[in-house]
Structures are given as C-alpha cells and as structure tokens.
Amino acid sequence: MGHPLLTRVLDAAETVILGKRRQLQMALCCLLARGHLLIEDVPGVGKTLFAHVLARVLGLNLQRIQFTSDLLPADILGYSIPDLTGKSFQFRPGPVFSQMILADEINRATPKAQSALLEAMEERQVTVDGETRPLPQPFFVIATQNASTSVGAFRLPESQLDRFLMRMTMGYPDAGAERTLLTGADRRMLLQQMDSPLDAATLHAVMAQVPGIHVADPLMDYVQAILAHTRQPQRFVTGLSPRAGLALLAAAKAHALLQGRQGVTPEDVQAVLLPVTSHRLVPLSGDNTNPGTALLTAVAVP
C-alpha cells in the first residue's frame, strides 16, 4: 500500500537517512500540506543532512541559512543596491527566494531576524523596499533548533512556533542503522549520487491532490472531539486553536495521500497528531507526561 510515487521518494531518501522512515514521512506530509517543519534536537543527529536529502529526492533547490546572532533580516530576504548607472536600484534576492530553505539553528539568531523568516513563511511573499515579491512554489522551510538546554539561544516563542505545521525530533539512530552509518560510505558522498524520482511538475500535481482527499463526517467528528478535548479546563494552558485544527486536518490529508488512501482515517490523524500538536500545546506545570501521547489515547474514535 501507499502512494507509488511517494513511496519511491521515501525509499530513495532512506538509502541515505538510515532508519528514519517515520521522520521522512512526516517531513513529506508537511511539505505536501504546504506547511513548514521544525526539527528540534541535539546537534549531530543529522538534521542538516536530512534537509539536504529531502531537497534532493524532491528535486527542489535548497538554500541554507545559518542563523547566527548577528544575522540581519536583509541577509535572509535580500537587499537593493544601486546598479552600475547609479540611477536605479537593483534587487538582490536573498536566500529566502528558494523552493526549500534550511534555516539552521534558528534559535541562534535574534528575534528580529527570526521574524523576518517567519513572516516570509506565513505570507509566502517578501516585501523589500516597498515592493512585494512572491516566493517560489513550492516554498518549504525546514528550521532546525537545538534543544532548549543549549547555551546562547533565543527560543522561539509559542506564537512563532505556531507557524510551523509540525515539530519533530530526529532521535538517535537505532543500533543497526548506526552500525551501517559507522561502517558505510560517507553520507554526503551518497547524497551526490542520488537522483530524484520527481520533477517540479509532478510534485506540484501530487500536492494539488491533497485538498481533494475525502474527509468523512465521523472523521470530522473525531477531529473536533480532539480539539474540544484540549480545550477542556485543567488539561493544557491553552487548547488547540482553529488554525491548529486546520493544520491537523491538512497534515492528516497529506498522510492519507501518502498511504494511498482516498479518505482520511483516524490512523492518519493519529500519525500526525503528535508532530502537529506537541509544539502548540503547553501542558500545565507539573504535568510531565507527553501531551501528544496522552491526547492520542484520551479521545475515542467515533
């Protein structure tokens, strides 16, 4: 089972990213649902490589922005310089004008620089010097963030986190994958040899299928029950917003497409529930259980 084309994409990616099928699936869902992805983990687990592989298998051009504390908005968006005649200005597009952005260590930069990117993510266009320029299609941002214990970081505030469709962690590879990793060829070398089973037009067509995935009434009931559950008092600081509900549904649709289904099933919702909601739900202090997991088992499937 599964979407034949997308399965091939995943298979290709998995030759390089070992044992991370699930993360790859989530990233793909995120892209298909036209959302952005936040990867949060300790350094060195392959966040950057992950983005590179994804860009490669999807046939997208990738720009990497290394966020540092002295990064300025213009470094991301671009700037205008006087042309040779000196009479007019010429716009130099920044790295943001790319189909896929890897915003590495986004929490290292100042909030000002962060918000420049986040605004571009939301609007899918950039306004510089009073002129609005559309961003390319598709436009997909993978931001990485070091775990909050890291020193010298500006953590993204909750309102900004909401801009990301999903947040996920990479996690350490399991023993077998790590063994292959340690003994096998250099991953970056493999990356160079990869080719993409997709072209831009095909990807576009696949993405266009996502909104057409059927959502049955009982499933809508289920999604609403989940939303209602998070809004009950004494569970979370704030419940899921309507935007979160839309995000959940969009991600679930993408997942259903990925699985080769014509309609969204509760399993699709459950598969994306954790990545979609974990960064949007703040558990009440003292509650250390994973909010997403608790949510998963708390709502009955109608």
Partner: protein, 641 residues
Amino acid sequence: MGVLVTLLPHLFYMPVVLSAGCVVVMMYGLWSLLLRRRPWFPKVWVKIILMIVSLVVIIKYSGATFSSEPATAFLVVLAILKVLEIRRTRDVHVVVLLCFFLLAAQFFYAQSLLYTLYALAEPPWLVAVLMISFRPTGSWKRYWFEAGLVIGQSLPLAIVAFLLIPRFSHPLWSIPNKSETATTGLGLSMTPGSISRLIPSDRVVLRATFQTLPPKPAEMYWRGPVLWRLTGETWRALDVPLPGSPAPIAVRSKRWVQEITLEPGSLPLLFALDYPDQAPDGARLNRDRQIVVAKPVSSVLRYTVVSHAASLDFGAPLEHEQRLALALPATGNPRARQLAADWRSRDSQPWEIVQLGLDYFAMEPFTYTLMPPSLGTDAIDGFLFVTRRGFCEHFAGAFTFLMRAAGVMARVVTGYQGGTFNPLGNHVTVRDADAHAWVEVWLPGHGWVRVDPTAVVAPVRVEQGMEAVAAREPDAFPVSDHSGLLWRPLRQLWDRVEYDWNRLVIGFDSSKQHKFWSALGWPHPESWELIVTLVLAIALFPFFWALFARIMPAFRVQRDPYQHLYGCFCRKLAKAGVPRHPWEGPLRYGERAATLLPGDARDIVLIARICSQWRYEHPLASDKLAHLKSKILGFNPGNHG
C-alpha cells in the same frame, strides 16, 4: 411548504375570494423558493392594504356575528401574510407557531378520522421546518427522520394526556357556533326531489349497534323530522312544535336497545329507531316523538335509546293536533279529493280507509323511480292518475293528502330506512342514501301508526335497501354502484375503522373516562386528581424514556449499518480476547488484533481495511458490502484449534 399543508383544510372553509388570494400568495412563495429567487418583501402600505381587504372580505362573508369561523379565517390570513415577510429565523418561528394553533383550530370544522389522519401528517412538516430554521444545512431525509423521531417520542405522552385530561359533560366555555353552512342530509321540509337528491350521497348519518337482537331491515325506520303542513308541493315541519310529550309506550312487544353514534348534521335532532320511548340525557322527546336537542348536532354524539316496535296511544289527539293533521290547501288536486271523498263515503272506519289507500297504490301500475317525470300544477293529481312514477316523497306526500282528504289524520315522517349491516364492526351504518319518507296516520285506539306506501309499491326498497333496488333497476336508479367486489370489503373496513374511531376516541367523554380508570382500579378519579396525575406523568416521562432507552440497547439509535457491522466485528474480537481501545481506529485495531491473533491475521486485516475504507474513504458497492457482511458474520476468531 409546511405552512401550505397546514392551512390547506382551512382554505375550504373560508370565503372563496380569500382562499384564492391565499393560494396565490402561497404559490408565489413556493415559486420563489423553488427558483431560489430573492423574495420580494412588500412595502408596509401594501401589507396594510392586503390586511384591510382581507378583513373586509371576512366581515362581509361572516356578517356581524362573531364565531369561530371568521376568527380562524383571520388567523389564516395573518399566517399567510406573515410568509411574505419572513426575513429572520424568528419570523419562521412565528409562522410555525401560528400553524400549530391553526392545526388545532381545524377541529372546529370536523373531527372525522380522515381529518385527524391529515392533521397527524402536519406536525412532521412543521417540525422539519423548525429544524431547517435552526440548522439550515442538512438533507431532507435527515430532517424527516428527526422530525418523525421527535413526534414519535411525543406520542406516548399524547396518549397519556388523552386518557388523563379531565372531561366535562358540559364544556367550560362554548365556542360560538359556526355559522350555518349548506345543509346536508334531511331538512325540515320535503318537496319532490329533496329526498331523492340525497340518494347519491355516501355521507354517513349514524352507526348503531344493538344490545338486543337487531331488527330486520324492513323494521328499521330511523325517525327524523315530522312534517305537518302542506303548501303547494312542499311539506313542512311546524314552526312551533306541539306542546306536551307523547304517551309512554305501554305495550311491551318487541324492543331494541340501540347505541347510536351520530355524525354531525344540520338538525337539532337525534335519530333513533321508530318508536323511541325515552330521550337520552340532555335531550327531550317531544309530542311528535322526535328526540330534540337545543342546537344542531355539531360534533359526533353517542347515545343509547330504547325503541319499541309498536306504540299504542289510547288517548285522544289534541284539538290543535287534530286540526293540523287534517289541514289541506283550500283548492287544487280535485281528482285526488274526489277519490278520497269516494273512499270516505264507502266506509267510515279510518283503518279501512287506510287499507283502501294502500290497495290503490298496490293495484294501480305505480313505478318506483329516482327519475320521475316533472309534474305541473295539481302535482298530486298528476302523480296519482297520470304519470304514476315517483320516489318515496311522492308516495308519502300523495298518501297523506289522500288520507287527510278522506278525513283520516295523517302526517309525513321523514328519516332513514334500513342501513347497511357491517359484519366487521357488527353495526348498522345508515347513510344519506337511505333517506326515506313515510306516513303516519291516527287510528283511534292505536294512536299514530306508521304506514309506508312505498313498501307497497317497491317492497324491495324496504326489505333489502336502496342498493338492491338500484342493482335491480339500474335505469330507474342511476346511482353509482358501490357494490363492486373489491370495493365492498374496503368500504366495510373503512366504515368499521371510522366507527371505532368515533366510538373510542371522539366519544371518550367523562363517563367513558371514569369507566376506563375504574377498570384499571381507580374507582372515582376527581378532575383535580387527574390533573395532578397528568402533571406527574409529564414530569416523569423523560425519566422513563431514558430508562427505557438504557434498558433496551436495541432501541438506542443504531441505524448506521457501519456501526452495526463494525460493532459486531469488534464484539467478536473482544470475545477472542482483544477488546478495542476506544481511541483505536479500525486499521490500528486490526493490526493489533492481527498480531495478537496470528491465526486470523489475514481475515482481521482484510475486514478492518474494508471497514475503514467504507467509513472514511468511499461508500462500498453493494456486492462488496454483501461480501463484507458475510465475512463478518462468518468471522470466528480464535477457533482454529
């Protein structure tokens, strides 16, 4: 739409102009609804003009008297004009509320079973309209289902209320009686044609059951208006009835105890078999031996009367009565007078004269027909000596004339003769088609005695009824034939149902109510006790309903075939030791169950996958559904040895 359905019955009872106007407005509403046009909201002055016009029409048609009819007509107009200004949900609610009230007002006109069935069909419409107003998105099917559910749930309460609401033998307030509508059935006068016009009518006049042996058809004379005065060709009842009451019936020959359910009519008169002995409660037996009530019977009435086959009155007639019973127009019909004078001179005994009269009808070639030739002046002469074709009214009228001319006191009695015995309900149904006229003559030592000249001419009419006559001589009686093979049982069945309806529901008065509760062991419920019980019942109703729904899981709404089949699948797996977690979808549950029950893994995964597809992806084709059904029903996990 719902409004239209509710108001439809009212339109028949309103001034024609107004009804037409209402229909136009409704059709306009329907039209703009169907074409999804933006409705036109009339300006205030347009509405005021419409209102004034309708008011004028109502007042003009109903006159100055205030009765229920113009009042409901006014409400109908209000409801329909309100349709023109439905802008908000609130307006819809107002209209629906009005319609509910008008629904109840419908019963001012009639309370028959057909009417009630129609009235029962209306609330679902109205409830559905209410639902749409609250929740505009949804399918009609669902609205209907839910409206039906709501009404179905309220039915038990309605039955309880019906049994408990105290009845009063006299209503607390009286609705101003409806204005005189066109009379149906017998009237207080008889002209040639006035009875024969009733023959094609199928209207039920009364139904009767007998507590004693029922009379033979030829004995069933249902006594109606007694006509005394002859002017021209018309026999009329007395404007001022004779004073006093008839002599009590002394002879105990044959008697019938009959329980009669009388349909509404235009006469202040209760029909009963000849000769009634005593009037039921609330009515009076007058000198003419008619059971009279104060007002025309406007709703179905039930009463019991004891009738005797013969009445003997040894007293003398009143002087006034005597004068009336011999009165004839000063001139006209000389040949008839001549014939009567002839009889009178031959024999002086009244009973002999009566016999001569009957012999005359028997000997001469008279024909009993619904289509008599028209008669000129001296109509009785023309009938007796020239045409000799006529209907019962001709026979009764002419015979009375002859008797009076011969000096025998006589009067015309109209009513019904015979009736159809319905074996299903064990009752006799009397219809307008059974209308009849006969004669009563005063014989000294006997009192008023019934004489039926029609019986001499056409014995079939009296012995077997109008239908038999019509069947035998279709040319003379062009009456629609109701005796078809298929039609007859259906008619009998309907007659039976309607009879029971009248007897059990319409006739459920205070005494019946008391009897009902006594049978249940509550000897003499007072009104206030009934009301308290009713309030208690209403309060406890939701509780009982909830209890009922809890006890009977089958009654819980589980019509969804998916829920049914998938539930069955889950129950089977649970029995095999893998209960479903409530948060598990079919796929995940199937996978888990497959790993725990490897023997059935293939079936489980397959069923779970199809269920999930059915529920969340697309409806299943019927053959696939049937396959799934058989698969789940035959599914037997954990039994592979």
